[in-house]
Symmetry: C2
Subunit: 464 residues, 2 copies
């Protein structure tokens, strides 16, 4: 990617000033919400609403045109229709705007006339050395700059995971799921029609972005699949990339064409190539979230050996099943580990001593869990530990014990706290802040664990 | 199943009196929590805590032994260890108790000595014509009787779905997920070692239980797979059954043996047979919940034709993909439907007119959504409608429109409201109370829709 594109993308994600074109007084309209999103997210740069007649909007002075804006404008967010969009982009070029975010649909995805219009849009952008986010997009978000340049006013907790989504709606699903899961988001972009900025361009930018630790990608289809996969493969050597490609059924390929105007391509082909390039492929938005959470919070393990400490066997069996299908192994414990477990549980413990370790009754006591978790983490064949605990009205969670054990061993610890999202919130906040991802279902925990194991093996970790 | 077993099961689920054996003053202990669960869930029958020395516990008078209890005891919940359990069950027999819930592990799953102990337990139960829930179980719940006979004090909203789980922990996962999803639960049982009551016995009981509309089953493995599947198949002709069988990987079969002492059997064999018997098979707890929710709330459609109205294409493509893989179809709209859609969107709408219908900008307005949804529901090839909407700070949800359209057409409507669980709660409550299941991710919506289509075709519905 040319250096210029990277620089422009940096201006787009970290603008000093944003103009909003198409603002109105009606909160029904996209333009109103583009402006409100910027204010609501606490953007600290300059905001210039543009409208030919209004004096002020949402407490900000309004400018009659881009020309009248006193200082430079890094980014213009454009909420007018597709025809007006092209005109406005030309004005942006004249003003020296670096990047435009074009929300309107009605371009390439609408057939020949739309395609011609999009070609004009591209030509104008090229003429002025601008980059276009979209068109036909929800916009983009950068929590590091308190920037929400979409028409969905949201307040997102900041974090280390960035998302590139070919669908605004699926991207929104992921954002909401992240909020539910207590996972902070770094950057987010709905790529839309990718008129000048390809999925791979955003990936290359995020690869170089120090505040992004993990990248999630949602893809419907692209004409440029080869380059996308190659770039993603390169990026994945620097930081984990999680790929969600829709289109396992045949019908969906047709549907995707009329959405973003690009062929979806065979799912199996995509999947195989993605895996060849070392990328982690997930099958739904829930698995995407579970994988990104683990990769953003826990360190990458040294190998694919998983140890489990639980007081309830069923969830550990579900976890074992899911992780096993994805290449994880559950090594038997070393003799010395068994001895330490017996010490905790008594000489004739009423449980079968194996991995997963079901400590039954004793496994409900936080102190016992702590000692078992330490013993298992010390086992040389165990690279990652999952602690399973069902939240209980009268019993204390083993949160301090897990924190201490993880700190002592340095190995990744994943917590499966069976609970509701609401009841787990407080414990989760503590654990999340100290590198322990928390899940409330065994399947999601397994998807998170499997993501860590995938990148362990990709990084040359030990296959046990 | 003999009539006696049914009658006893009825006494177990709807006891007039419950004795709790093994109660203590320490809230750490299982016995304490068995008692608290009964009180916490608001059980209105008689509760008799039994302890040799204590005078009162948690505000209730304590009896020194079962013998001293003045009236009859329908059910005894037993929280003592495995050895004492057998003794207590004998006392229960003498007292005329109908059913015992045995929490302790340490039986069949622990090898020959445990197996011998469990055989004694069974012999005692047979001698006195009692049935045993468990042993090695969390217990059972019946929200219709405000009965929580587990050691997890919970307050569950009541509803139409009942669960039979071979794992307490997975069963708890499902209960918590149900709370998160706003889905009411009817009955719930952790079957444990199934010493006298098999999975199929509970299924037969729930098949006859009028307040149960849908049954979810989680299975690790059973010696009696043939009978289980046959019974489940018969039950599924009366009410929908959703099956979650763990064990797609080989390793897990071994793990299941040491948990509940039964062979898991080949997953593929299970799956094929379950499907032959017309049962819906799901692959994880999230799909289980999504399927049960749809089946509990929406009517079964007349065929497998799905219509979608959305303002964001991506989620509809994900939905299409998932539903398509599970046998659903998305028929093209009739000419008359197209005409009505054009009327709503204008003569030259900036969208491609097809199913799924992406109404883009106009699809954000509740009134327009309402008219589009009505048009699509009137289409003779559409048996079920999915309305997709992203919750927005400034825009009203199309909740009243969906309610009106569903009422008018009588066809099932499913809402995909992209949001967090918290933000969607209010709208969801309204929709759930009026037969419209609400999901927040496209995949879960698709799993719910697919469950409805499965039972549509099972009931002889039209395959479009």
């Amino acid at each position: 990617m040319p250096g210029n594109k990277l620089e422009v993308l940096d201006s787009i994600f970290y603008p000093r000033s944003v103009a909003v074109i198409g603002v109105t007084e009606s909160s029904d309209r996209v333009g109103y919400n583009l402006l409100q999103s910027l204010i609501y997210s606490g953007f600290q740069g300059k905001i210039y609403p543009i409208h030919p007649r209004l004096e002020s909007l949402q407490g900000l002075p309004v400018y009659r045109s881009l020309e009248e804006v006193p200082g430079p404008v890094d980014v213009a967010v454009i909420g007018v229709n597709q025809f007006a969009t092209v005109e406005v982009v030309e004005q942006c070029g004249k003003k020296g705007v670096k990047g435009v975010i074009c929300v309107a649909g009605g371009f390439r995805e609408m057939g020949p006339a739309g395609k011609a219009l999009e070609e004009r849009l591209i030509a104008v952008a090229r003429q002025y050395n601008m980059e276009v986010v979209g068109p036909n997009t929800l916009g983009l978000i950068n929590t590091r700059a308190n920037l929400n340049a979409t028409f969905y006013p949201l307040r997102l907790p900041s974090g280390k995971v960035s998302f590139v989504s070919q669908s605004g709606g699926v991207g929104l699903t992921i954002l909401h799921k992240a909020m539910d899961e207590g996972l902070g988001v770094n950057k987010w972009v709905g790529v839309g029609n990718r008129s000048t900025l390809e999925l791979s361009d955003y990936l290359e930018y995020l690869a170089r972005d120090d505040s992004t630790a993990v990248i999630g990608v949602f893809v419907e289809g692209t004409d440029d699949a080869r380059r996308l996969v190659q770039v993603a493969g390169e990026v994945a050597r620097r930081k984990p990339v999680v790929f969600y490609k829709v289109g396992r059924s045949d019908t969906v390929n047709l549907a995707a064409v009329t959405h973003t105007g690009s062929m979806a391509g065979s799912y199996q082909m995509y999947r195989q190539i993605l895996q060849q390039f070392g990328l982690l492929v997930v099958e739904n938005a829930l698995e995407m979230m579970a994988a990104c959470k683990a990769l953003a919070m826990a360190p990458i393990p040294r190998g694919n050996g998983v140890g489990v400490v639980t007081h309830t066997a069923g969830p550990s069996i579900v976890l074992l099943d899911e992780v096993n299908l994805r290449g994880g192994v559950f090594p038997p414990f070393a003799e010395s580990t068994m001895d330490r477990i017996k010490e905790v549980l008594g000489q004739n413990p009423p449980v079968v001593l194996k991995n997963p370790l079901d400590a039954a009754g004793q496994g409900m006591q936080a102190a016992a869990i702590g000692r078992l978790v330490e013993a298992v983490l010390d086992d040389p064949r165990i690279d990652l530990l999952v602690a399973i605990y069902c939240l209980h009205l009268n019993w204390r969670c083993p949160t301090p014990e897990l924190l201490a054990a993880q700190k002592r061993s340095g190995k990744p610890v994943v917590a499966l706290y069976i609970s509701t999202q609401e009841q787990v919130r407080e414990e989760r906040e503590v654990l999340h802040s100290r590198d322990i991802p928390v899940y409330i279902t065994p399947e999601e925990a397994a998807w998170g664990v499997s993501a860590l194991l995938h990148y362990a093996l990709q990084r040359g970790g030990i296959s046990r």
